[in-house]
Symmetry: C2
Subunit: 351 residues, 2 copies
C-alpha cells in the first residue's frame, strides 16, 4: 500500500461558505448560526426532493454572494447528495451554468468534494472551485426506509437525517476582495483564513454488518482505518489538533470508533467529537443516536468549526466525514453495509 | 463565464485499460475485442446488481494485471455507475483497498473519471489513478424502467443499456515497465502511448424534454454546448481530429447534435460518430436507437478507438461522453431530463 496522504504544497483556502437548514436543525445547539432557514423544511417546493435541490441552490448562491464573486468566477463545482442518481445536485445547481462534477460518497460527500476542489485549485487547474452537499430528512426516509406517512418506528441506534445544505468556495490563496460596505460580512485576503493543508481519501471498508438501523457501527471501522492511516503517514499526533471530528457516527458509532482506535494504540482523547452528536440535543430531541446525512458534517463544519477557527480560538481541525455505501436494494439482496471515511486537515496556518 | 478548458502541462498517459462485456456486446461489431466476456451476462453472481459490480472488479483487476503493477501502486480510483447509490462501484471495487472517489455523471461517468484521474496525476498529487465505470442492461431496466419479467415494449427512440465495464489506469509519463514474457501483451514506456492532453468538464444543460424513451434528444444539447465551448476555447477545428465521438446519443440524438452544432456554424463532418451507434449493429440487433449506459463510451473507447490510436492509424480523438441526469422519481414528479457532456482530447502526441 503506497502512501495516499495528500499534502498540499500550495494549500488552498476556503474563501467563503454558506449553510441552509431546516426546523429541527435550527432548534438544535447550532440554532441561529445558519444563513438560511425554512421552518417548514419545504423551501417553497412541492416535493421533498425538489426542496432538497432548492437548498443546494440557495447554499451555493449565498456562498458566492458572500465571497463577492460571480457564478462565472467558479471554474467547477463538486456536488453530491443521497438521492437516487444524485438528483438534488443536478437539478439544484443546473441554473448556475458552472461545469459540474457529480460525486457520491454518501454522508462523506462534502469531504470528497472539498478534497477534489482543493486538488484542482492547489494544482493550478482552477482558480476557484466549489463543493456542495445536501440531505433532507423527508426525502431520505422515503429513499432509504419508508415514506413518513407510514409512521414507522425507529430503533434506538437509528440516526436522524439532517435537513440542510452546505456550500464552500475553495480558492487560490492570492485571491483578494475588498469590502463593499463597512460592517457587512465580506471575505478579503485568503477569505476566511481557513486553509486545507492535508487530505486523505478513504478506502471502502466492509466489516460485514447488515443492520440499516445501526449505520454508525457500520461506518466506524472505515473511520478508524482512515484515522490510523493518517496518523501513521503524517507523523502527527492527536494532540496536534484542537478538534478531531467524525461526520455522523452518532452516539453508538462514536463509542465504537474510540474503542477500535484505542485497541490499536491511538487515543483520540477529549478533542474527539462527532458532528452527529453536535447538531441536535440528543437528550431531548428524539433523534436517537444523533444526526446523519451529507449535510450533517457540512453544517457542523460551516456553522461551528470554521467560525471557531476564524475567531482564532482554535487552529487545527481534523474532519473525518463518514459514509455508508449501501442502497436499499443491496441490503435487500443480503449485502453488507460498506463504509468510507474521507479526511481533511483544515488549519489557520499554511502548514 | 471564465474559460474551463483544462490543458494539461504534463499530459498523463493511459498506461493500461481493460474491458468486460456481455453477450449482446460480444455479438456486435466489436466482438472479439473485449478482454473478458460472459455470454450469460451473470459473471457468476445471483443478482444483476451483483453481476454489474463483479464486472467492475474484473475490469480493474485485468487493467492492473496488464500494466504489470500491483493494487497498492494505484493511489486512487474514480468510479461510478447508474445504480442507486452507485453500489456497483462500491461493492465491486472494495476488495482492492484503493482510496475511492465515488463519482456520478450518468452515462458520461467514464469521462468524468478520466478527467479527475488526469487532474490528480498531472498535478503531481498521484503517480497513478484509475477510472472505472459499468452498466448492465438487466439492472438498468429494473432501475430506470421496469423489471425484464414485465416484458415492456420499447419505443423506437429508446436505447439499449450496454452490459459491460471499462477500467483505465492513468499514469505519469515517466512510468516504465518491462515485459515479463515475450509475446504477452504488456505495457511499457508510457504504456499505450495514448496521452490525455485536454479536458473540458460539462455544464448541466436542460432543454426541457421529459421523454425517458428519447434520452438521446435530451442529451444532445449538452453535447452541443460542450463541443461549441471546446472549439471556441481551444482554437482548434474539427479537422484537427480523426474521430469526434459522442458517448451515447444514439441514432436520433446524433442527428440532432449535428443539426444543433451546424446551426451554430460548427460542422463536425464525416469524422463525427457516436459510440451508441458503433457498439451494436443497429440494423439487425433490436437495439432501436443504439447503445447507452456508462459502459457504452467506455467500451468503444477501450475496444476500438485506443487500439487504433496505438496502431498509429489515427492520432487525435475527441471523446464527448454524454449523460442524462434524471431519476425515475424526478421524472414522475414532472421534472425535465437535464443532460451533461464531459470532453476529453486523447492524442498520440503530448500536445
Amino acid at each position: 500500500m503506497s502512501d495516499s496522504l495528500i499534502r498540499f504544497k500550495k494549500p488552498p483556502c476556503i474563501s467563503s461558505f454558506a449553510t441552509v437548514a431546516g426546523r429541527r436543525e435550527e432548534e438544535g445547539p447550532l440554532g441561529g448560526r445558519f444563513d438560511i432557514v425554512d421552518s417548514t423544511d419545504r423551501f417553497g417546493k412541492d416535493s421533498w426532493e425538489k426542496s432538497e435541490g432548492e437548498m443546494q441552490r440557495l447554499a451555493l448562491e449565498r456562498a458566492i454572494l458572500k465571497s463577492g464573486i460571480e457564478n462565472g468566477d467558479i471554474n467547477a463545482v463538486f456536488a453530491g447528495d443521497l438521492l437516487n442518481q444524485c438528483t438534488s445536485s443536478s437539478y439544484g445547481l443546473m441554473s448556475f451554468g458552472i461545469p459540474h462534477f457529480g460525486i457520491y460518497g454518501a454522508c462523506s460527500t462534502i469531504a470528497e468534494g472539498l478534497i477534489l476542489a482543493s486538488v484542482t485549485v492547489s494544482g493550478g487547474i482552477y482558480r476557484k472551485a466549489a463543493a456542495v452537499c445536501s440531505s433532507h430528512y423527508c426525502s431520505a426516509e422515503r429513499q432509504f426506509r419508508s415514506p413518513l406517512e407510514y409512521g414507522s418506528q425507529r430503533a434506538p441506534s437509528a440516526q436522524w437525517t439532517v435537513t440542510g445544505s452546505a456550500a464552500f468556495v475553495v480558492s487560490e490563496e492570492e485571491t483578494v476582495y475588498e469590502e463593499e460596505k463597512p460592517g457587512e460580512y465580506r471575505v478579503s485576503g485568503c477569505g476566511t483564513g481557513c486553509y486545507i493543508t492535508e487530505a486523505l481519501p478513504g478506502r471502502i471498508f466492509d466489516s460485514g454488518l447488515t443492520d440499516m438501523t445501526d449505520m454508525g457501527a457500520a461506518m466506524a471501522p472505515a473511520a478508524a482505518d482512515t484515522l490510523l492511516r493518517y496518523f501513521a503517514e503524517s507523523g502527527r499526533e492527536p494532540g496536534d489538533f484542537d478538534i478531531i471530528a467524525t461526520g455522523d457516527l452518532g452516539r453508538e458509532g462514536s463509542r465504537l470508533l474510540v474503542a477500535l482506535t484505542g485497541d490499536r494504540g491511538l487515543e483520540l482523547g477529549p478533542r474527539y467529537t462527532d458532528c452527529g452528536t453536535r447538531i441536535y440535543d440528543l437528550s431531548s430531541s428524539d433523534v436517537h443516536s444523533g444526526g446523519s446525512g451529507c449535510a450533517c458534517s457540512g453544517l457542523v463544519l460551516a456553522a461551528e468549526f470554521l467560525p471557531r477557527l476564524m475567531s482564532g480560538r482554535i487552529k487545527d481541525i481534523l474532519l473525518v466525514a463518514t459514509g455508508a455505501l449501501m442502497s436499499p436494494a443491496s441490503v435487500e439482496q443480503g449485502g453488507t453495509i460498506p463504509g468510507i471515511a474521507h479526511l481533511l486537515h483544515i488549519s489557520s496556518e499554511k502548514g
